[in-house]
Symmetry: C2
Subunit: 321 residues, 2 copies
């Protein structure tokens, strides 16, 4: 049996009791890489689970699925995923591969940012399409996500913005890599292909990428500040083109950091305020509200004012490991 | 401290390790009523948690919030919710009440149908607004949810339909109760006011409602079959009015039953097929796909064909307790 086990969002104890039992009895346990997006690292998980974990990054999951699935028809193998196993498409790949090999699978669900975002008080059923905001480079500044935000707002829906690095960046950077050897951008995301809460950020420097050296940089996580600043740029670009943007500096947004962790932070304020609110370390998410709010939503958001101490944007921080 | 603890979707062991620790150390533990929507009842939970649970239905949560919160400023009180605590708005009420009393709160997240629905292989970020489908009566047959499905489909988004009884039914039934004493409809939902995964179904017979007797009927849960049949009626009504419906008999849908439980069932097929697919006991959910699918979505859905044995619609079943 292949078990896909969600780990939730906080620390080692956010696994379910059922999930923990599975982890303890499986013959091999894989952990999707970059567990530092939990507030604890691999070692803390191993200590709590009482067993060794095999790190599997996206490349391995895609290229070495058969290794992961080896003997899973006669023994139990677990594959641990931060959040819920259905956040990222890769796990569909793994399930399809298992099924084609005649290996049964089972999913142990857990919280993901897609439902835990409800903790800010906005009603979950009023969320429209989720978007991802990627790090812009000086040559690649996609604004297409903004159309989705616009559509959501036109329909009165909130938009959850996942702040991640995504695969298209890689493609773009690979394409012009040769001509941009001396780029000021130090790192390229080479592994993020999923469109959802894709937290597997494994980066090579441009030089290492070109030379085919698998040397990776520490992951970069986008802050709410950076996302808000990019949004303001899109707004300015739209105005320059004579368009009326669907979101303005005054649009009510919610910044969330480390949802589900002890030191979770939430701040509700204008998009302008999101440019400087201090929310601390990763992971960050941003919600752009859909316009008219339910009175209960308004009341809940009032619990999370932008702290007065927030001054000046924060730098991208490394995750705790 | 007030703890809101999500129980997940399956059985007693779907609580997180952190949640279980909270349950075991709190001075009082409330359980939102109708735990039979888990595959186990209150007694099984009590046995596994090793302690007594106090049942709290929606009425009590709304009217007796102060009882629930009593002494929570000096001791720990837990409030257990099936799924994730932010599925239903009532928990916002409880949080706001706690905050106004100066009682700190903490949320222990878990899976909810809103993210666990990803197990069918449809990509979560491609879901638009969630809708609820209510039991029609012969005088109250709302079609408004269909507009949301239409909007989602126009935007290429899937729609998760939660199959529940909702409060407006009550209002309607209360309004014409006097003239309909001998109604063929045996029960009225009197407590469902939340717009999300509202699984607190507490019903009075019409007679008991009118006489003010708080005697409740066993809850009724809508099946995928019933929801699909109502959808087909809406489609026929629209055609009769000369409109072109956004969903047809051939629209690809996914029926899900008991997501997260051992005996979970999923079937992907046309809306017509959903009228007769046999998925077993509650809870059921229905997804109406958004049109064009990602190849991975298509491949995943192919794992869940409508079983050939499916013949004839199922009756509404009582939950196991």
């Amino acid at each position: 049996m292949l078990y896909l086990v969600g780990l939730g969002l906080g620390d080692a104890k956010d696994i379910t009791v059922k999930g923990l039992e599975v982890v303890r009895r499986c013959s091999r346990v894989y952990l999707e890489a970059y567990t530092s997006v939990l507030t604890v690292g691999k070692e803390a998980l191993e200590e709590f689970y009482g067993r060794k974990l095999i790190l599997a990054d996206r490349e391995e999951v895609e290229q070495e699925a058969d290794n992961i699935l080896k003997d899973a028809d006669v023994s139990d193998v677990a594959f641990l995923v931060v959040g819920d196993p259905f956040g990222a498409t890769t796990h569909s790949d793994l399930i399809l591969r298992a099924t084609s090999l005649g290996i049964p699978y089972r999913v142990i669900h857990n919280a993901s940012i897609l439902n835990a975002v409800g903790c800010c008080g906005l009603q979950l059923y009023k969320f429209g399409e989720t978007v991802s905001i990627v790090f812009w480079t000086d040559t690649w500044r996609p604004e297409s996500f903004f159309d989705k935000v616009k559509k959501n707002r036109q329909n009165g829906m909130h938009t959850l913005c996942l702040l991640v690095i995504r695969a298209r960046l890689t493609v773009q950077r690979k394409a012009d890599a040769a001509s941009r050897m001396q780029s000021e951008f130090p790192a390229v995301c080479v592994t993020c292909t999923a469109t959802n809460r894709d937290i597997k950020v494994k980066e090579q420097s441009l030089e290492n990428l070109i030379k085919g050296r698998k040397i990776y940089e520490p992951p970069r996580y986008m802050t709410v500040n950076q996302a808000a600043q990019q949004l303001l740029e899109v707004i300015q670009n739209q105005r320059a083109r004579g368009e009326e943007p669907a979101v303005t500096e005054e649009t009510l947004c919610v910044g969330l950091a480390r949802v589900g962790a002890e030191d979770q932070q939430i701040a509700a304020g204008t998009l302008q305020q999101m440019c400087s609110v201090a929310l601390g370390g990763p992971l960050h998410s941003l919600v752009i509200t859909g316009g008219s709010l339910h009175p209960l939503e308004v009341e809940m958001l009032s619990l999370f004012p932008v702290p007065e101490a927030s001054s000046g944007p924060q730098s991208t921080e490394e995750p705790r490991t």
